[in-house]
């Protein structure tokens, strides 16, 4: 039991670190975007008109538009829970708990279906 506990703690620590990086990346993008918006006195887009496709987002970033930078940051933030599920699969596999590998894979598949619906519905 203690062995298993220690192993799990180790794995959770790794997950925590990976997640921190993910959150740090999105937070950095958001902060840069917000500072750009303050410096430029706006997001570079009109109030209800902002980039919602990757092409628009990346061309906006190339033009140093605050709104595009923020949208990329928000998209990264939306991906952090996905990252969480993915590393959990790895963690359970490493632990040899295949029941939970399957359970977590199912969660990931459902999650991807949900996200795909959002992408297609557009």
């Amino acid at each position: 039991m203690t062995d298993k506990k220690a192993e799990m703690a180790q794995i959770e620590l790794v997950i925590g670190k990976i997640l921190r990086i993910g959150v740090a990346v999105s937070a950095t993008l958001l902060i840069i975007g917000m500072l750009l918006a303050i410096i430029h006195g706006g997001t570079g887009y009109s109030e209800y008109q902002f980039p919602t496709t990757f092409t628009e987002i990346f061309s906006g970033i190339a033009a140093f538009k605050a709104g595009a930078m923020i949208m990329l940051g928000l998209f990264c933030l939306i991906l952090t829970p996905v990252l969480r599920v993915v590393v959990s699969i790895y963690a359970f596999a490493k632990e040899g708990d295949y029941l939970y590998v399957w359970i977590t894979v199912i969660v990931l598949v459902i999650l991807i279906i949900g996200m795909a619906i959002g992408f297609i519905k557009k």
């Binding site: 952090t80 996905v82 959990s88 359970i103 949900g114 619906i117």
Partner: protein
Amino acid sequence: MQQIILLLAVGVLAGVLGSILGIGGGIIVTPVLTLAIGLDIKYAIGASIIAVIATSSGATIAYLKDDMLNLRVAMFLEIATTVGAIIGALLTGIVPTGFLFILFGAFLLFSTYNMIQKLRGKVAEQHVGAGEDKWAKKLNLNGTYYDKANQEQVDYAVEQVPGGFAMMFGAGIASGLLGIGSGVFKVTAMDTIMKMPLKPSSATSNLMMGVTAAASATVYFFSGAIIPSVAAPLAIGILVGSTVGSRIMQYLQPRVIRMIFIPILLYTGLQMVLKGFGVHI
């Protein structure tokens, strides 16, 4: 500039409260956005989806180190919630919602009563559980956490797993169909039905909320319902708030958390029942 400061401040507050209670913070964010800033409800919902993910991501980083979260319970119940949420979203416009509002509102009111009983000590706060549930054993759901407020290791058993799973499925349908925050349901399902201690319930709910919200967030993202100038300061504030809040939560007595939770539960339950009868508050 004023708006940025307001949103940062609201974000910090929502993040602290959301991460302590295991709820998304939409209860704070949505009224501020619609009433104080005058944002259309469509954009307010978009922003509150981001708020939920930010709360979850900010909070779970700190929780993981501290063993508060029950990853198995989270992933197992997540199946029920996400499938429910997708079915709920597909049922929009087909199923009448009035009855469901009353049903789920009534459940929250019942949980309010249950929580008050627990607060008054009629039911033990640190319910250890009999550990007899065969599903909990089969699925290895029982857990342990270190309570920093009481400085003791708490081992707990999870009960009524099928009931909790069914409730989570219902909560998923409700959140997809009615667009209500499911954090309140997740915490109460774990606390009231599955008899998990409040702190791991809150931490586990926090993780699940983020995953559930991510599944629907792309709909809002790609349809342009998320305004960057609103969402960015809000998200940054929440990330800070929820990281702080989850640290505070560790040192709070479960009783205190319950005392903050009860009025929110009562408010949400009443709001839903009244909405079911066509009264909006």
